[in-house]
């Protein structure tokens, strides 16, 4: 369970990333976080595994106060939280399986890391992770030979290989075309159901968010303006998240209505 208690984040330059966020996320939820660019979506996700430090409030993950963690404890804590990035963040010159195996590195002795020696068990585990995202056949290809969608699935396999209980995904489908994005999202949904892993996704595609997530968080200027089940997301909610009440309906409206209609 992840619990935000009045969490705020102010960056050194004065930008307010998060303001008084209160949030409770149960194990196994599939959460989509929507909002404009710069609204604080990335900040929210990155505070959970403390890639970003919070400046106020308390953040509890599975009963641990994240801000009390240091050095080795923090790294051990991060082992059970997977993270997926918009730009995949794979070593493009390395093979697919080496990238997946890299998530085993933190638990390995230094000399094995140095020469890149992995045991048979580790290799089988990595191949199984690749199989779960249906990309087993590419195991020995170099990552730069793969398409964007395939690379994102490799990144997903890398995360699965660390057996996380939570997966944080920062715009995982933003650089993919709509069809591939849908496939990758369905991979997330399947993993969420089959393995009971909590998934938190930052996403711009409202239609995909509504199609796969069970719960939606709307964030604007670092504040949570909507928190509820997917079924209750209405046009008013989207207006609130994306434009604010004061802004009259403009050309943007067409786009957002279009997205909602896609879903329906």
């Amino acid at each position: 369970m992840i619990e935000f208690k009045d969490v705020s984040k102010t960056y050194p330059n004065g930008t307010k990333g998060l303001q008084h966020v209160n949030l409770k996320i149960e194990q196994g939820e599939f959460l989509a976080i929507i909002g404009l660019s710069g609204a604080g979506k990335s900040t929210l996700i990155r505070t959970i595994n403390r890639m970003i430090d919070i400046t106020d409030g308390q953040l509890m993950v599975d009963g641990v106060d994240v801000m009390t963690l240091k050095g080795k404890e923090l790294r051990k804590f991060r082992r059970k939280i997977g993270m997926i990035f918009q730009s995949f963040n794979l070593v493009s010159r390395s093979t697919v399986i080496k990238n997946v195996l890299s998530s085993d590195v933190p638990d390995m002795p230094w000399y094995k890391t140095m020469f890149g020696i992995y045991s048979k068990e580790q290799k089988i585990k990595a191949l199984e992770a690749l199989d779960k995202v249906n990309i087993l056949e590419k195991a020995y290809s170099r990552c730069d030979e793969l398409s964007g969608g395939q690379q994102q699935r490799v990144a997903l396999a890398r995360t699965l290989n660390q057996n996380p209980s939570i997966i944080l995904a920062d715009e995982p489908v933003a650089s993919l075309d709509p069809i591939i994005a849908d496939i990758v999202m369905s991979d997330f949904a399947r993993i969420n159901k089959d393995l009971n892993i909590s998934i938190l996704i930052n996403i711009h595609h409202v239609d995909l968010a509504l199609k796969y997530a069970t719960r939606v968080i709307g964030i604007r200027n670092g504040e949570i303006v909507y928190d509820g089940p997917t079924s209750e997301v209405t046009q008013e909610v989207l207006n609130l998240v994306y434009m604010g009440k004061a802004v009259p309906k403009s050309t943007d409206k067409i786009e957002i209505e279009g997205m909602v209609m896609n879903n329906g």
Binding site: N49, V105, T113
Partner: protein
């Protein structure tokens, strides 16, 4: 920001030309800096000529000597090869060991000097400062000093090459490290790897080709450089170069240079072959 937008001193002294077009639009044409640069350049050249006793007539009157010496160099004394080979091998050994040692020590220093990996400002700056200083001293001076500290011979030369190699390999490498994709590194951090583990697994594969390339480049350069270190007593071919030019035996010098030329050419070919294999 405000400082950057200020009118440069030059434009305040030499005011830009104000041009008004027929349609009333105006444009400021800054005065060309070329004349000023040219004058400064000519003054510098003039001072330099005074300081170095630049004397073209003397060069022309004595240039006849040059083809004579060159002619002797280009007719190498092939019997001298027997003397050249052992020292050539010593030169090669010095370059190989010096390059390998320098490249190995250069790697951790490069990591410490990369601003995207090492977030600790003081160690970063100290590391870069030391590298700059090491780089600013020519190999030949290292060799002279080391020949005094250690005994005369190949060890001093090898140490000189190693130090010089590490200073440039580290510089080329940290510049390369600073341009790599940090995404994989961030990903490794996100699943709990230490900085060193992250660097080794996520960044090393990205810089490895460049690293090997730099090492080969240094090796090539070091073979040339190490051939003269013997001149100051630090082992290798330089001893012969000193001795033969001292006796004005330019046929023998020709032999030494011919061997060096062939070896450098061969290493160049070998390096190109290795590079094509690596990529």
């Amino acid at each position: 920001m405000a400082k950057k937008n200020r009118t440069p001193l030059f434009d305040r002294i030499f005011k830009p030309e104000h041009i008004v077009l027929d349609n009333g639009h105006t444009v400021d044409r800054p005065k060309s800096r070329t004349p000023l640069i040219l004058v400064a350049f000519l003054i510098i050249v003039f001072i330099s000529m005074q300081t170095t006793n630049f004397n073209l007539p003397r060069l022309i009157s004595r240039i006849g000597q040059f083809p004579v010496i060159l002619g002797q160099i280009f007719t190498p004394n092939l019997h001298y090869f027997d003397k050249v080979i052992p020292l050539l091998i010593e030169t090669m050994k010095m370059s190989i060991v010096g390059t390998v040692v320098g490249c190995i020590i250069g790697l951790p220093l490069a990591i410490l000097a990369s601003s995207n990996i090492n977030k600790n400002k003081p160690t970063l700056l100290i590391c870069r400062f030391i590298l700059s200083i090491l780089r600013s001293i020519p190999t030949l001076i290292y060799a002279t000093v080391f020949a005094l500290i250690f005994n005369l011979g190949a060890f001093a030369g090898t140490a000189a090459i190693a130090i010089f190699t590490l200073s440039i390999v580290a510089k080329m490498l940290y510049e390369a490290i600073e341009t790599i994709d940090m995404g994989p590194f961030e990903a490794m951090q996100s699943f709990g790897a230490t900085t060193l583990q992250s660097f080794w697994t996520a960044c090393m594969p990205q810089i490895l080709p460049q690293y090997f390339d730099n090492c080969l480049y240094c090796f090539e350069m070091n073979v040339r450089a190490s051939s003269i270190l013997g001149y100051v007593g630090a082992g290798g071919l330089g001893i012969l170069i000193r001795e033969r030019t001292g006796y004005r035996q330019y046929h023998d010098l020709g032999t030494i240079l011919l061997t060096l030329f062939v070896v450098v050419w061969a290493i160049d070919q070998l390096n190109n072959w290795i590079r094509s294999k690596l990529s």
